[in-house]
Symmetry: C2
Amino acid sequence: MRPGKRDVIVSEVGPRDGLQSIKRTMPTATKIEWIKALAEAGLSEIEVGSFVSPKLLPQMADCGELVAATRDLQDLTVLALVPNLRGAQAAFDVGTPKITMPVSASQAHSKANINRTVEEAVEDVARVNELRNSLSGDYRPGVEIGISTAFGCTMEGNVSEDWVIELAVKLAAAGADSVGLSDTTGYGNPAQVKRLFTRLRSELGEKAGGAHFHNTRGQGLANVVAALEVGVTTFDSSQAGLGGCPYAPGATGNIVTEDLVFMLESMGLKTGVDIDKLVSARPIILSGLPGENLYGHVQDAGLPKGFQYA
Amino acid sequence: MRPGKRDVIVSEVGPRDGLQSIKRTMPTATKIEWIKALAEAGLSEIEVGSFVSPKLLPQMADCGELVAATRDLQDLTVLALVPNLRGAQAAFDVGTPKITMPVSASQAHSKANINRTVEEAVEDVARVNELRNSLSGDYRPGVEIGISTAFGCTMEGNVSEDWVIELAVKLAAAGADSVGLSDTTGYGNPAQVKRLFTRLRSELGEKAGGAHFHNTRGQGLANVVAALEVGVTTFDSSQAGLGGCPYAPGATGNIVTEDLVFMLESMGLKTGVDIDKLVSARPIILSGLPGENLYGHVQDAGLPKGFQYA
């Protein structure tokens, strides 16, 4: 692992966001091998799974095991997604270091995704915060929120920017440690990214969270550049862009970790991540999900002659 | 075609940069059909081919025919690439409205690409300018330069930024109307793009040209955002990212016109281009080059619900 302070945190979401959008289940042992390889490559945050009903997402049923197997890895913060209070309880029961809760800006998406109105989801965050505060001993897990559909909704279309910021303020008041913005639908554009993150940081200060971009329309890294311009320093991404939409072969899922790290390091921003080690971890995915589509450019094009890490 | 002033010029280079990197030759009639469809979609600049030895690039042998067939299309500026004085003469002989000459910042690339030193290439630009000035009548073609390997060279590695700017100044002095910067190798990063174009615009003023980015490492649109930040308003791109490197399936060639136009319009920047018409032109490519790899995202993902042009 490359030493030194990181300028940007690359938060790997492949084991959660990538795998949850693939119908097949990667074997637990393969997931653990993959997560360990990602940590070994220098990633300091990995979202390992989701504490959600195994009836809804059987691919995520082993989340507790994954947390137990990886939470003590050195220099790694293990995250898990929780959709509600029950998920938070399950996460806290196994000592998950940090949870992330999605709260939709769009009512239609909120109903479809977690069967709750947006207002009910905000109340859930407050309850999760109370639960966290009631934990005994030294265990104090982090609670971060990602506002889903913050850049637009496939059902509702445009989402009001004023409302997104109002919602972020409510969520911070409900006790979240940080509130980030997610382009769940791949609708976001760089101008919108600059506007929304500027306001988020101005309204929330220290509680302003990171960016979760998809590359659905090829604009993922462009949105990262826009977010960097206004001071965002945490970005979710997925190794090999795992979880690309099966109905749209070119329309990949999350932004690709390999390409993101290459871009950031080229720009002089330390990520702590070793690109060669990262690329070496790609075959592990295929060992658990034979024939799965993997995305990205850097693994094929290689690093430029004369390339130097930041 | 969508009316109104353009905020950004998208300069289509697929018929030249895309096709020249594919070994097979697209039939001339198909090229003309494709170029007309691109113009109909609202593209106001199209680089239709290259006046280069047909022994070197037989795919480009019909450049004169293409210019003759397309130069009078309404609202379209037809460009052709010329590598040297002989090419310029051929271009002027058929009344090409605008030529673009590549001049490498790297000596090794210059020798490999046009078998000239960089200094000899600068002299060629001066000779081409003299030739242009000697033309009689109303015909006064544009002469623009793209500095190749401005962001790095696969043979030499890093290229000095001071040298790139010095070269740009020499080329402007040699009589070019504008001097742009090309990331021929897909080495560029957004921080470097901002630095170089800031200096180019400061040194060259009105003669500072556009950006030609490749998407070799997935960073193409990110580099566009960086260039927009410092005032660049002309971008080369290729429909369907045509000409992706055959040795690296994920490593596409030029940035994809469809995705670029989507991003710019989403940002509120008028391009004059209709994305649906553009997407409708993709099958023409396959009719002339069956089975060719086409790239891009927007054609698969579709436009966002509620999407509006700038």
